[in-house]
């Protein structure tokens, strides 16, 4: 392996550097960048390798992202059952807006997003604050809170279905405490909340890690200064901690909404979107239309999801940009 010694090389080539830079210039690498004689030739040859090295990801991007995205737009403007297609323009989108089932899905996805964000980030913040404030055992607690994240959602769905069962553990615990029991997943009033709890349990570890990193980045001098000024714990939290976590909250809200549009596994396995569409999410709706061979509508749902997320991200980044100004 070569041992670089830039110092010695600099003194040797400094006189030739001026000569070399008189040649055709390339974008980027220029004055101040020391060159050995003949470097331009090697530079050009290296340039082609750059393209070669990114060829596979580039091809993958075009084939598995850009092309399918454009095709999805195209399919969404047709009535399509997988074999035959006919042009309907915006017909699929109108159908979706007029379809009470899709409206229910959109509404319940929003409901899921809000509830799971509040619950998930709430739990995550509490755990992050606690872990941040103790001296020993951080790694152990972090690992424990993270276990659900590495468990696949199918296993998690079965597990919680068992826990929510009429004769299952949660009801048994409630009965022992003298509280009323419920058919959590079969009751349209509780089904979505049950799904939210399961999802928050599985995912809060992610938010916790990010919040923990955010907390550790806050300089302790802020808190010391506040304590000297007589601020209590709550005031410190409200005026120092929360504002400094602004960016993390923003990021979590974007990923939270994005995640809500992708909720599928637990809905399919635990409630099949019911009862009475109470737990139907847009991803589940998309999949259902797919299995019903309504591919035009299915693609339209996909495009709607993209549009909503794009708008949401842009709005959020505007807010972020505005927040930077004093």
């Amino acid at each position: 392996m070569q041992q670089p010694s830039p110092g010695s090389r600099n003194s040797r080539t400094s006189s030739t550097a001026h000569v070399a830079s008189g040649g055709p210039s390339r974008s980027g690498a220029r004055a101040g960048h020391r060159r050995a004689p003949g470097a331009l030739l090697r530079q050009g040859w290296a340039g082609r390798n750059g393209y070669l090295f990114i060829l596979a990801p580039l091809a993958s991007l075009v084939l598995f992202f850009i092309y399918p995205f454009l095709r999805s737009l195209w399919y969404s403007l047709h009535r399509f059952d997988g074999r035959a297609s006919s042009w309907v323009g915006l017909g699929n989108y109108l159908d979706l807006v007029r379809d009470p089932v899709f409206d229910a899905a959109a509404l319940h996805t929003l409901e899921f997003a809000v509830k799971s964000l509040v619950l998930g980030v709430g739990m995550a913040l509490a755990c992050a604050l606690l872990i941040h404030s103790v001296a020993a055992g951080k790694g152990l607690f972090r690992a424990a809170f993270f276990l659900p994240m590495v468990s696949n959602m199918v296993a998690v769905s079965f597990l919680w279905q068992l826990l929510y069962h009429r004769g299952g553990l949660i009801n048994a615990a409630l009965r022992a405490l003298g509280m009323p029991t419920r058919s959590w997943l079969q009751d349209s009033h509780t089904a979505m909340n049950a799904i939210v709890v399961t999802s928050a349990w599985q995912g809060f570890g992610y938010s916790m890690i990010l919040l923990l990193a955010g907390l550790e980045a806050i300089p302790s001098e802020y808190f010391e200064a506040a304590r000297i000024d007589g601020a209590n714990l709550f005031q410190q939290f409200w005026h120092i901690t929360l504002p400094n976590l602004r960016f993390v909250f923003l990021f979590l809200s974007i990923t939270g909404v994005s995640g809500a549009t992708q909720v599928f596994t637990q809905v399919q396995l635990m409630t099949q979107g019911g009862p009475a569409h109470a737990t139907r999410t847009v991803m589940f709706d998309l999949y259902q239309r797919f299995t019903q061979l309504r591919l035009g509508q299915s693609n339209a749902v996909g495009i709607v999801i993209f549009a909503v997320l794009a708008v949401f991200a842009i709005v959020n980044l505007r807010v972020l940009g505005g927040g930077d100004e004093p």
């Binding site: 392996m1 070569q2 670089p4 010694s5 830039p6 390339r26 980027g28 690498a29 050995a36 470097a39 340039g47 390798n49 750059g50 090295f53 990114i54 596979a56 580039l58 993958s60 991007l61 084939l63 598995f64 992202f65 850009i66 092309y67 399918p68 095709r71 999805s72 755990c127 606690l130 404030s133 103790v134 690992a143 809170f145 993270f146 276990l147 590495v150 468990s151 959602m153 199918v154 296993a155 079965f158 919680w160 068992l162 299952g168 048994a172 009965r175 022992a176 890690i209 990010l210 993390v248 994005s258 549009t261 992708q262 599928f264 847009v282 991803m283 797919f290 749902v301 993209f306 997320l309």
Partner: protein, 284 residues
């Protein structure tokens, strides 16, 4: 007088710390408990799961459930094999292809690299639901449905992976590149001999994170496979619910088999997995 006040202050602080630890322990126990219940259930009889007072530990630890799931169910070992093949392939391809691209973007100079990189990053704006159906139709057109190709190729390289390694390689000095070039080494050799080994921490992070993500993937393998023998573990597990008499202990056994190895793997590679998660979330 002053000494006792100071002592009271110390007691208060210690009590507060004790409360913090207590809450953390309770929280950790509550979080881990469902998983414990799942594992214990795999050793129980069906009847032990329900009723007014379900017991925590099984009356008699029995391996009958594992025997059934691994031998009597038509394809369960095959599900595990498929998951292994797909996951290992995806990890290997990502580690190689993503690092190669990251090396090109961070160390090599070629015109338009900044614009191309920006395009790469922008594709992350397209959410997976939007691509599900057209990807399925593309796989069908390519004849890749129900084969390993459909399961592996779309995830063979990810922009997130490239970004992860790029972030790390950006911090590596170009001196190695310069001097190796002067010694006449080709770019690929420079990548293979110098920058790839140097980026080992980032590669470990990528490998661990990709492994867990690929193993747990459900929706895409569900859509991309139709025959039972091509299913990956999560999909096969989900099918248990519909294809068989609803026996919870068997479902819990299957769930345990799909979760416990990953948990053990995670506990050994925690540092890398968490580094992978935070790479996208923290600015800079």
């Amino acid at each position: 007088m002053r000494a006792s006040r100071a002592r009271r202050g110390r007691w208060r602080r210690q009590a507060l710390t004790g409360v913090r630890y207590l809450v953390l322990v309770i929280g950790a126990a509550l979080t881990a408990f469902p998983l414990l219940w799942m594992v214990l259930a795999s050793f129980k009889r069906e009847s032990e799961l329900f009723g007014p007072q379900p017991s925590l530990l099984p009356h008699a630890w029995r391996l009958a459930n594992y025997l059934y799931v691994l031998t009597s169910l038509p394809n369960f070992p095959r599900y595990v094999l498929n998951s292994l093949v797909v996951t290992v392939s995806v990890v290997a391809l990502n580690v190689f292809l993503d690092s190669l691209a990251a090396f090109a973007f961070s160390q090599l100079r070629f015109p338009g690299r900044k614009r191309i990189f920006a395009v790469f990053l922008m594709t992350m704006l397209i959410p997976p639901p939007t691509l599900l159906i057209p990807l399925y139709l593309l796989m069908r057109a390519l004849g890749w449905l129900d084969t390993y190709w459909a399961l592996i190729m779309p995830s063979a390289t990810t922009v997130f992976g490239i970004f992860l390694v790029w972030q790390y390689m950006r911090g590596l000095p170009r001196d190695f590149l310069e001097s190796a070039r002067i010694d006449g080494a080709s770019d690929f050799t420079i990548y293979r001999r110098i920058y790839l080994p140097l980026a080992a921490p980032a590669l470990a992070t990528l490998a661990v994170f990709t492994f867990i993500t690929a193993w747990n993937d459900y929706l895409w393998p569900l859509v991309a496979t139709s025959s039972d023998r091509m299913r990956t573990l999560p999909v096969g597990l989900a099918m248990l619910q519909s294809n068989h008499v609803f026996t919870w202990v068997w479902l819990m056994t299957g769930a345990t088999i799909s979760v416990v190895p990953v948990v053990i793997f995670y506990l050994f590679t925690q540092r890398f997995y968490l580094a992978g998660l935070t790479a996208g979330g923290i600015k800079g």
